[in-house]
């Protein structure tokens, strides 16, 4: 079975641009969460989606948005990129809302220049 897949694996953007990151959960998993991991730090929670509805949001500005599609895949969008948005963005999926643990993808490395 395929694990959690994220695309692209790496990308470089310029300040002020917009970026879309994509995530496909494990087949059958209905919950997707997004995390930001800045170099040298632990991951920080951005969003959780369950059954296509937003169920939680972390302390991130409105420039960050996300959605979950009928097939349970998800997109994370970031507008007006700042240098500080440079990070590894991790997607995690779970069968339900996550109380049995999440499976993480390998992440998308975003560099803003």
């Amino acid at each position: 079975d395929a694990g959690v897949t994220q695309s692209p694996t790496h990308l470089i953007k310029t300040r002020g641009q917009h970026v879309t990151l994509r995530c496909s959960p494990i087949s059958g998993h209905k919950s997707v969460s997004w995390y930001q991991q800045v170099l040298g730090q632990g991951p920080q929670f951005i969003f959780q989606y369950y059954e296509k509805e937003e169920r939680g949001r972390g302390n991130f500005p409105d420039r960050f948005s996300a959605r979950q599609f009928p097939n349970y895949s998800s997109e994370l969008n970031v507008n007006a990129l700042l240098l500080g948005d440079s990070a590894l963005y991790l997607c995690a999926s779970s069968l339900n809302r996550g109380n049995y643990g999440y499976t993480f993808g390998s992440g998308t490395r975003l560099t803003v220049v």
């Binding site: 730090q41 632990g42 991951p43 993808g105 390998s106």
Partner: protein, 112 residues
């Protein structure tokens, strides 16, 4: 809100020696506890989890952890490490909202 403190930022250890990574958490409600490992340029892999029941939890690759509610700790141990255990280790906690709060991580470097 919950928070996690990993007490050691770096742990050097010799091959075949034991290792313990310390994790303390703060929360006002019941929690679920996790340890994840991250190898260079990769995502997070679940090592073990505590949801309820026995306070001694066994995970993959010979790791185990003990939940201590009175000390709000969840320390990770392995009796004999290998070179391949060199990685970053993250302790995480979640409450009823199921979002994970992570510690800052502990870098384990295993030397021959």
């Amino acid at each position: 809100a919950q928070s996690v403190t990993q007490l050691d930022s770096q742990v050097p250890v010799f091959e075949e020696a034991p290792v313990e990574l310390r994790c303390n958490y703060s929360s006002s409600v019941s929690v679920y506890l996790f340890w994840y490992v991250q190898y260079p340029n990769q995502g997070l892999q679940l090592l073990l989890k505590y949801l309820s029941g026995s306070t001694l939890v066994k995970g993959i690759n010979g790791f185990e952890a003990e939940f201590n509610k009175s000390q709000t700790s969840f320390h990770l141990r392995k009796p004999s490490v290998h070179i391949s255990d060199t990685a970053e280790y993250f302790c995480a906690v979640s409450e009823e909202d199921y979002k994970l709060s992570f510690g800052a991580g502990t870098t384990v470097t295993v030397r021959a």
